[in-house]
């Protein structure tokens, strides 16, 4: 790889990182919010490196190369691969993970709760998918019985049978370690995959509430489309309509 190609590669990678982390929220499709400062620092570093190379290495790189029989002004050809992520970020960034991954990924382990606080009296009650699953399968007091629940997530169609799951994808480090939380929805028609929705409904009675035999499922009374959140990889409470 020649010197001008290296400069171009460093500058493009730097710009790609800055575009994804500083000028937009693109990076949240792939990594955690916490990595953003590191990505910005890396982008600045690579950009400076490229500009320094363009400005300083004009003078006699040949003489320097011959001096110790090794030439830093060429880089191995494998480096061409770095153009792919750089251009991908700048021109054609892939979307956040969605229904395809959720239908293949393993379900996140719902943590064991020691005890459950009494549920607030709000109607409908906003809940996260994880909390809902824990309440249904672990709360012996059955506080959730008959309550109207509101949750948000995206649509993952169930394989052949029709029907769909309300879904959230969560990861700890980057999109490579994603896990999903799914709650089965009953009583509405299937929406297109990856549509973000807010649903309101009551627990779908199947199995014994408060034990492992109970399924995390909801009889839906109302569905409305919502715009996808900026950071899709969280299991957030739905924003309560005012």
């Amino acid at each position: 790889m020649k010197r001008h190609a290296q400069v171009l590669l460093l500058v493009l990678t730097g710009l790609g990182l800055l575009h994804a982390a500083l000028f937009s929220d693109l990076c949240l499709r792939y990594v955690k919010e916490g990595l953003r400062p590191l990505l910005i620092a890396s982008g600045v570093l690579l950009l400076l490196l490229g500009l320094a190379g363009a400005a300083l290495d004009r003078t006699a790189p040949e003489a320097d190369a011959h001096a110790h029989g090794h030439d830093h002004s060429t880089a191995p050809r494998i480096a061409w691969l770095l153009f792919l992520p750089a251009l991908s970020l700048l021109l054609y960034a892939p979307p956040a993970l969605g229904a395809y991954t959720a239908s293949h990924a393993n379900n996140k382990a719902v943590p064991k709760e020691q005890r459950f606080d009494p549920l607030p009296a709000t109607v409908p009650l906003p809940m996260t998918l994880t909390d809902f699953t824990a309440r249904v399968q672990q709360d012996g007091a059955q506080a959730i019985k008959g309550r109207s629940i509101r949750m948000t997530g995206f649509v993952t169609p169930v394989g052949q049978g029709g029907g769909w799951y309300l879904t959230r994808i969560i990861f700890t480090c980057c999109a490579a370690d994603s896990q999903s939380v799914k709650v089965r929805m009953y009583g509405t028609s299937v929406l297109p995959a990856n549509t973000w929705v807010a649903v309101t409904g009551t627990w779908h009675p199947e199995g014994r509430l408060g034990t492992k035999s109970a399924t995390a499922a909801l009889d839906v009374h109302r569905t409305e489309r919502i715009s996808p959140p900026v950071n899709a990889y969280t299991d957030d409470l739905p924003i309560t309509p005012s």
Partner: protein, 344 residues
């Protein structure tokens, strides 16, 4: 977006890099006509087929995971490259030989424990280990450091404690099994390792009089980053392929048998290339598996995975990477099973 063309080129590139370095020849850039033909060709292919196939759910997921692994690793790779460049340009040659015990057999466990000081994931440790060897540290000690650093640093151990609440034995077992594996691999290299498996470094070592230190540092840094970065993208592509292609329902098939489940999770750790700071959470989600199998997943993951093998092949040469990764996997599985059996 010339993925297909690039992928065809990859095999040939990997094959070329090692012999070219071996002869001390310059690896020259792709000639301009080839670049033009490739670019025009891929533009033509894209305009004929459209960009629709890039948005197929599976292809889009592959691109997302590939980009995610690259982005996640890039800052740590840069950190490792900066450290490695700084060690090369500014640290006196005899510093490490003075600090480490003189006998290599003693230097190995010391270097293994020293892995605690490099916070971050596995991508940072490869360039650092390479620069340690160039600075005269015995390779066995540098390899013990390479293996232990991503597995036993405080960030990773804290993440493990969070992922397995109320189960401190898991953290202890992970720390112990990783240290044992790192030290065992260092000693194994002392016993059986041969210098000629390592690619002879074409780099000059250390600071040379008459050259500007800052310029040397910058050019060395740029060279190392471009080199390792290319291999990182290659590893990310391979890992993303398995990540998207292996359906998780396969997991349930193996969780029943204790021995198969250990081997299966070890293989999964290699193929998925989950960052060492996150693998504890993935292990925690594999609820059908025995604690020992999950421990093996967390011991193998930071030491051997597709992106690491690619990085090591780029840094130390292919013949080294193949032998070293195979041996490390075997030792790590054995250490995980023994210590898991005793503690969990």
């Amino acid at each position: 977006m010339n993925k297909t063309d690039e992928l065809v080129g990859v095999a040939e590139e990997v094959a070329l890099v090692a012999p070219a370095g071996h002869q001390g020849r310059r690896v020259t850039g792709r000639p301009l006509p080839v670049v033009i033909v490739t670019t025009v060709g891929s533009v033509a292919v894209l305009s004929l087929t459209g960009v629709g196939w890039l948005n197929q759910p599976a292809v889009a997921a592959w691109r997302t995971v590939c980009l995610a692994i690259t982005l996640q690793a890039l800052p740590f790779l840069l950190l490792g490259t900066v450290l490695s460049g700084a060690i090369n340009a500014f640290v006196p040659a005899d510093l490490f030989t003075r600090i480490l015990p003189r006998r290599p057999a003693l230097a190995v466990p010391v270097a293994g424990v020293a892995g605690v000081v490099l916070p971050g994931c596995e991508c940072a440790s490869v360039p650092v280990a390479s620069s340690l060897i160039r600075r005269g540290v015995t390779p066995s000690a540098a390899f013990a450091f390479l293996l232990s650093a991503p597995a036993i640093n405080p960030i990773v151990l804290t993440a493990t404690a969070v992922a397995f609440p109320g189960n401190p034995a898991m953290v202890a077992a992970r720390l112990l099994a990783s240290l044992v594996t790192a030290a065992a691999m260092g000693w194994l290299w002392l016993w059986l390792g041969r210098e000629e498996w390592l690619r002879p470094s074409v780099r000059h070592t250390g600071h040379r009089s008459g050259h500007s230190r800052r310029r040397e540092f910058r050019l060395g840094f740029q060279h190392d980053f471009l080199h390792a970065g290319g291999f990182l993208v290659l590893g990310a592509m391979a890992a993303a392929t398995f990540n998207v292609a292996v359906p998780r329902s396969v997991l349930d098939t193996f969780s029943g048998s204790p021995w198969l489940s250990v081997l299966f999770l070890a293989a999964l750790a290699v193929l998925l290339a989950v960052c060492s700071e996150a693998d504890a959470f993935v292990a925690a989600s594999l609820t059908g598996f025995s604690p020992t199998a999950r421990l093996v997943f967390m011991v193998v993951g930071p030491m051997v995975d597709l992106k690491l093998i690619a990085l090591q092949a780029g840094t130390f040469g292919r013949s080294f990477a193949v032998r070293f990764s195979t041996a490390t996997t075997l030792v790590a599985v054995a250490a995980g099973v023994l210590i898991g059996g005793a503690l969990l």
